[in-house]
């Protein structure tokens, strides 16, 4: 039995927990406002808000209901457009109407929900965040300019919002109906836990599994690990950072400690999927999916991260770079699950960068991505970890390239020499994301870009990229 609240209605259901929320909403509850566009989290037409009770407050995030199993809704508040509709249009709906932000209308509800989610979020209600809230929504009609203008109006109107009283303020201003303030109490009486039997498939956010195995997941024997509290959290112990396997990309992005360690973290993670997907996608999910192009995998490879695997209580540790054995092949027993990801807190003279290039800069899978971490001792590289994705059968840790540069000065000559080794370490193939030759060039460019980003004083851009001065 799964128990949650959908809009203002308490739900208890014995439907298969692997069924996606989108189908539950549309076909079981007959709420047709939520649309089906792609069923792979790439269009946002099915965006809903998912509220989770934490410390007496409900925190709402946007998610794509096409990839969300109802098993992950246990004890939560799910909001579809029907749950925010009132007699009059709310200010978000009004702004979209006023600016002509809806044409064919099929994507519109997704935008409405993303923007209402923005209004409900504790993030600063500035224009940049309003646009970011729509980064998972595709509109084929408007060209987005009218939606940008609508977002501008909404931001204006949110100026009076009391950050400590968001829900009551939004209710008072008729953004949302007034049942929302009772939701924390109602959620409090629903258990958050699910039964603990050992199941065959572990599902975190579902953002990969539900894309790849959409048809079979509904009847799969699923262990839902997304809300498993033992797998959540980001903490520091001594000199090591531990991340729960089910930490989402958004958990990392909004974590203060991580932002201190990685000053450009938000910039880096903005390149990864979209707001709703970042709200769902887990770290371990990205690792075990073993995509050669997994963004977070490349990121953590460059941190030389380790994994703690748990096989029904038997634990072992393995370096992430040793986890990959071949295309979609892992050093992992079927029953083993990733429990924790850890990496050492870098020293003072430590530098990190992440690069990603795709056909479309945002909400796209990379043609190539690349990450690097370098610790300097004086002007020399004391230690270095680098990885690049999309250019090998699995996420490629650049062992030899790193070894080559370790102990060397940061100089254009050394870096260029290293790129020759990098080219030997990779073996890209031509596919929909680019020709092999392009990926070779791109891997090299991104590797060079790290040094320009991190050490602009130490390398001359024109020499590094061998730009002829006219």
């Amino acid at each position: 039995m799964i128990e949650f609240i959908l809009n203002n209605k308490s739900i208890k259901t014995n439907l298969p927990p692997g069924m996606v929320m989108l189908d539950f909403i549309r076909y079981e509850q007959n709420l047709k406002g939520t649309k089906i566009g792609c069923r792979e989290g790439d269009c946002g037409a099915c965006t809903v808000l998912v509220g989770e009770l934490k410390d007496g407050k409900v925190k709402y995030q946007s998610m794509t209901s096409c990839l969300m199993p109802i098993g992950n809704a246990q004890g939560k508040h799910i909001v579809s457009v029907e749950g925010i509709n009132m007699q009059d249009l709310n200010p978000v709906q009004k702004a979209i109407v006023e600016e002509g932000g809806t044409q064919c209308g099929f994507c519109t509800v997704g935008f409405v929900m993303s923007l209402v989610g923005f209004c409900m979020s504790e993030k600063d209600s500035n224009y940049e965040n309003a646009i970011a809230a729509m980064d998972g929504n595709i509109c084929r009609c408007t060209g987005y300019k009218s939606l940008e203008r609508a977002a501008g109006h909404i931001v204006e109107q949110l100026k009076g919002r009391d950050k400590n009283q968001i829900i009551p303020w939004l209710e008072q201003q008729q953004y949302i109906p007034n049942y929302f303030s009772k939701i924390p109490e109602r959620l409090g009486s629903i258990s958050k836990s699910k039964n603990g039997m050992i199941k065959k498939i572990n599902v975190g956010g579902g953002t990969d599994l539900y894309v790849q195995k959409h048809d079979s997941m509904i009847h799969a024997d699923i262990e839902f690990v997304f809300d498993n509290s033992a797998l959540k959290g980001i903490k520091r112990e001594g000199n090591t950072i531990y991340l729960g396997a089910s930490a989402t990309v958004e958990d990392i992005r909004s974590n203060d400690m991580m932002n201190q360690l990685f000053p450009r973290l938000r910039k880096h993670l903005k390149l990864i999927s979209s707001t709703p997907i970042r709200n769902m996608a887990t770290l371990a999910g990205n690792f075990v999916n073993a995509s050669p192009i997994g963004d977070m995998t490349i990121f953590f490879l460059a941190l030389n991260a380790g994994l703690t695997l748990n096989n029904n209580g038997v634990k072992r540790n393995i370096q992430l770079k040793d986890f990959y054995k071949g295309y979609k092949t892992l050093d992992k027993a079927p029953d083993e699950i990733i429990e924790t990801i850890y990496f050492d807190v870098p020293g003072k003279n430590w530098y990190f960068n992440f690069e990603k290039v795709c056909k479309r800069t945002h909400l796209d899978i990379a043609s190539a991505n690349s990450a690097i971490s370098i610790e300097l001792e004086g002007s020399k590289i004391k230690s270095m970890n680098a990885a690049t994705g999309g250019v090998f059968a699995f996420p490629r840790y650049l062992q030899k390239t790193c070894e080559y540069l370790t102990g060397k000065e940061i100089s254009v000559a050394n870096i260029l020499a290293a790129t020759e080794i990098l080219q030997i370490e990779i073996a890209p193939i031509s596919d929909a994301r680019g020709a092999a030759e392009y990926k070779r060039l791109l891997a090299r460019q991104l590797f060079l870009a790290h040094f320009l980003e991190l050490f602009p004083d130490k390398v001359n851009a024109e020499e590094l990229f061998q730009i002829e001065t006219v």
């Binding site: 649309k35 457009v81 109407v97 064919c104 519109t108 009218s146 070779r440 060039l441 870009a449």
Partner: protein
């Protein structure tokens, strides 16, 4: 006024096909399609699939009671493959079951044996093998062969543009419902209700009147549902016909992308001759259109390529030829612009190549050759009301072409790792279906006894706001509140024999028909008012729901007048017919006057590329657009903004990739990328050029659906311009889209920085 659907759109209350209440007993249909692009079907075994619990029946071509033929222009396309499949994704069988899930499971259990045949994906290869959809066509004006000797510069080359997935967010779908006496009602997400009706009747072997097609609205069409919505409507109807049960057939995204046709990819040869003072003396082009496996709308698309081969330039001596090449891709189809963009891309490519070779700005050649009134198009139509120069000049006044160029150059002089590019894309697009007979429409207007009004037309609402415009026409002619008017669904039993909602002409054609219907009713109302008020009919006017005599307000209001008409047994309804006057075209001579009018515009692009990563931003698109006199500025602005972004998508990130086996590799939203909110131009400025010369546009409000997509071509040339700023010697093929891949390869082409031959393979 705002789009009349916008309230329900934002509330999720607008109804699309899959949102309709499901009738008890509804079955679900899933097509089983080919996994090879060209093969003989050696055997088809349905046994295991039929045994799946919940499967009602599996249909093949043998179950077709009429003709297994869905080709609209040329009868060359089977609904369900008989002995041969000729594209990857061609439907072979239709699984009908109690749920979509069951149908899917069963479809996977169908066993088919193929004997593979050679696959062609390249249009030039098809042409070489003489695999053509129809004989090539040539439009010709003057004598190019006599001109080459006079040319100071002759530039030749190849230009290629890729296909484009429509990516309407609502996938294809239909819901067929059995009525009494074997009649069928189809709710279809189609731009062409009559096409659905006609073709369903043909396939089922029924007269057209037994098929009723009803369309509320589409979640996007863009041409993709002009002809290709028909297949899925027939699939549902075929099952309904046999099973006498309601049947729903909605495609999932990957099936839609795999099985339906897209914008045609083109590969073209061009030859451009310029005089010493850069006048275009001669232009020749040969277009190889990748039609896919069947004609679909390709012949008409190809025709429009020929019409727009000159874009907005005066070319007295031109000869353009087009081949519609039969390949093993899904049959390509209409897409906003309908072959026009592909034609314009080639002439622009020729001009840019000429400018690069001559070391001048393309804008110099562009500006010198703009059309003016009295010039003759290469198909014989004389230019009238030409706004090419007006748009260009106004754009220069507003946006300062020279200064923009200088700013780009100044930026480039200062920056090594980022480069800006600049381009101007002027457009000229002809309005009317190029097939003259299609330029007709009908409207049915009812005035009810309470004064409320219902309007039915052949127009299909797909986001472009046509229903809002129809409502405006009725409210304006009657001079009543918009709240009194309702636009009905598009239904073949109310308005018959319709042309599809296409060619940007729908608001004009249906608007004029609505206008005629309203005027006829208004005439009767005025006559009645004259009697009631004992006044002269010519002195009667109606303004804001009140009758005036010689400009003096009376007590007679709209509802009272309507009632008076009814009591006196006078008709409050009218079914009016409109056919565009003046137009004609003789395909034996390839000459005539095919367009009611042309729409013009000029757009300025600036872009910035990251010369390390090959990524880019479109900084600004600044436009002067020939609106005529917009009857709904908000809707028209939305059409232009949306068209620009869709055009930019086609020219930049939207890359359709088929492998040599004819399999679509960019087959999902994860691999086929359309613009998102971050990739759109930072600035889009649209300045309306208001003119009042075109009486054939409804209320002089010029058609706005397709023309803006061609502005997108400017993005390609601005990016190319930026790459050249970094790597002036780069030899970049004129091949769209300009993906980040092509940008990066262009930036480092022939550069010492990257020697690919030196790398280990």
């Amino acid at each position: 006024m705002k789009n009349i659907d916008s309230r329900t759109h934002t509330r999720g209350e607008s109804v699309y096909v899959d949102d309709m209440p499901v009738i008890a007993g509804t079955l679900y249909a899933v097509a089983f399609d080919s996994v090879v692009a060209h093969a003989k079907i050696k055997s088809l075994d349905l046994t295991e699939a039929e045994a799946v619990t919940g499967v009602e029946r599996i249909f093949t071509y043998k179950d077709i009671t009429g003709e297994n033929q869905i080709g609209g222009i040329i009868p060359d396309e089977q609904l369900l493959a008989e002995s041969v499949v000729d594209f990857w994704g061609m439907p072979i069988a239709l699984v009908v079951a109690e749920s979509e899930e069951i149908a899917r499971v069963a479809a996977k259990k169908i066993k088919v044996e193929f004997e593979k045949l050679p696959v062609i994906v390249d249009p030039r290869e098809a042409a070489k093998q003489n695999k053509l959809i129809m004989p090539p066509r040539t439009f010709q004006n003057g004598d190019t062969s006599a001109q080459w000797a006079k040319c100071e510069h002759i530039i030749e080359g190849i230009a290629e543009s890729g296909g484009q997935e429509h990516l309407y967010i609502e996938t294809q779908g239909a819901y067929a419902v059995p009525l009494e006496n074997g009649n069928i009602k189809i709710y279809s997400s189609t731009q062409g209700p009559t096409a659905v009706q006609r073709t369903t009747a043909r396939v089922l072997g029924l007269p057209m009147h037994k098929i009723e097609v009803d369309v509320t609205r589409l979640g996007g069409g863009f041409g993709g549902k002009e002809d290709q919505a028909t297949t899925w409507a027939i699939m549902a109807a075929l099952a309904t016909h046999h099973l006498k049960r309601p049947v729903k057939c909605i495609l999932d995204r990957m099936a839609d992308m795999r099985m339906t046709g897209k914008r045609h990819p083109y590969s073209s040869d061009f030859k451009l001759g310029l005089s010493k003072d850069l006048k275009i003396l001669a232009f020749e082009a040969t277009f190889y259109q990748n039609a896919g496996a069947a004609a679909d709308l390709s012949p008409a698309v190809l025709e429009r390529t020929l019409f727009h081969a000159n874009n907005t330039y005066n070319i007295p001596d031109a000869k353009v030829t087009a081949y519609s090449c039969k390949t093993n891709l899904p049959p390509n189809t209409a897409f906003r612009g309908f072959g026009g963009p592909q034609g314009m891309f080639v002439i622009e490519a020729a001009i840019v190549k000429a400018a690069e070779e001559l070391g001048i700005e393309p804008t110099v050649i562009q500006e010198k050759n703009l059309l003016k009134d009295g010039d003759m198009f290469h198909y014989g139509q004389i230019t009238a009301g030409c706004m090419a120069k007006n748009c260009w000049t106004r754009a220069d006044e507003l946006y300062n072409i020279k200064k923009t160029r200088e700013e780009v150059d100044a930026f480039n002089a200062k920056n090594k790792l980022y480069k800006k590019g600049f381009a101007i894309m002027p457009i000229c697009f002809g309005i009317s279906f190029t097939k003259t007979l299609m330029n007709q429409a009908r409207a049915l207007v009812h005035v009810y006894t309470d004064g409320s009004v219902g309007v039915s037309t052949g127009a299909v609402e797909m986001g472009q706001g046509v229903n809002t415009k129809m409502l405006q026409v009725a409210a304006t002619i009657f001079s009543i509140s918009v709240n009194r008017v309702k636009v009905e669904t598009t239904n073949t039993t109310r308005v018959s024999n319709t042309s599809p909602t296409a060619a940007s002409a729908t608001a004009d054609l249906n608007g004029k028909a609505t206008q005629l219907a309203c005027e006829a009713i208004l005439g009767r109302l005025k006559k009645r008012a004259a009697i009631e008020l004992k006044a002269n009919e010519n002195d009667i006017t109606i303004k804001d729901e009140v009758v005036y005599v010689k400009g003096n307000k009376t007590e007679l209001t709209w509802p009272k007048l309507v009632t008076a008409c009814f009591i006196n047994r006078e008709s409050l309804a009218e079914h009016a017919h409109y056919a565009t006057p003046e137009i004609h075209f003789d395909t034996t001579k390839e000459r005539g006057h095919p367009f009611a009018y042309h729409v013009y515009g000029t757009s300025l692009y600036t872009v910035t590329i990251d010369c390390i990563r090959g990524t880019y931003d479109i900084d600004s698109v600044r436009v002067v657009h020939d609106y005529g006199k917009s009857m709904n500025a908000a809707i028209d602005r939305g059409q232009i903004e949306g068209g620009i972004v869709q055009g930019i998508g086609w020219m930049t990130m939207e890359e359709l990739i088929y492998n040599s086996e004819g399999r679509l590799m960019s087959n999902a939203l994860s691999t086929y990328k359309v613009p998102d909110i971050y990739s759109v131009p930072k600035e889009i400025l649209i300045h309306p050029l208001e003119t009042e010369v075109d009486s054939l546009a409804i209320f002089n409000s010029k058609a706005v659906g397709e023309p803006p997509i061609m502005y997108g071509i400017g993005a390609y040339f601005a990016l190319r311009n930026a790459v050249k700023a970094f790597n002036p010697s780069a030899n970049i093929p004129l091949n769209a889209p300009m993906t980040p891949e092509k940008v990066l390869m262009g930036l480092y082409e022939k550069s010492v920085a990257f020697k690919s031959e030196a790398l280990p393979v």
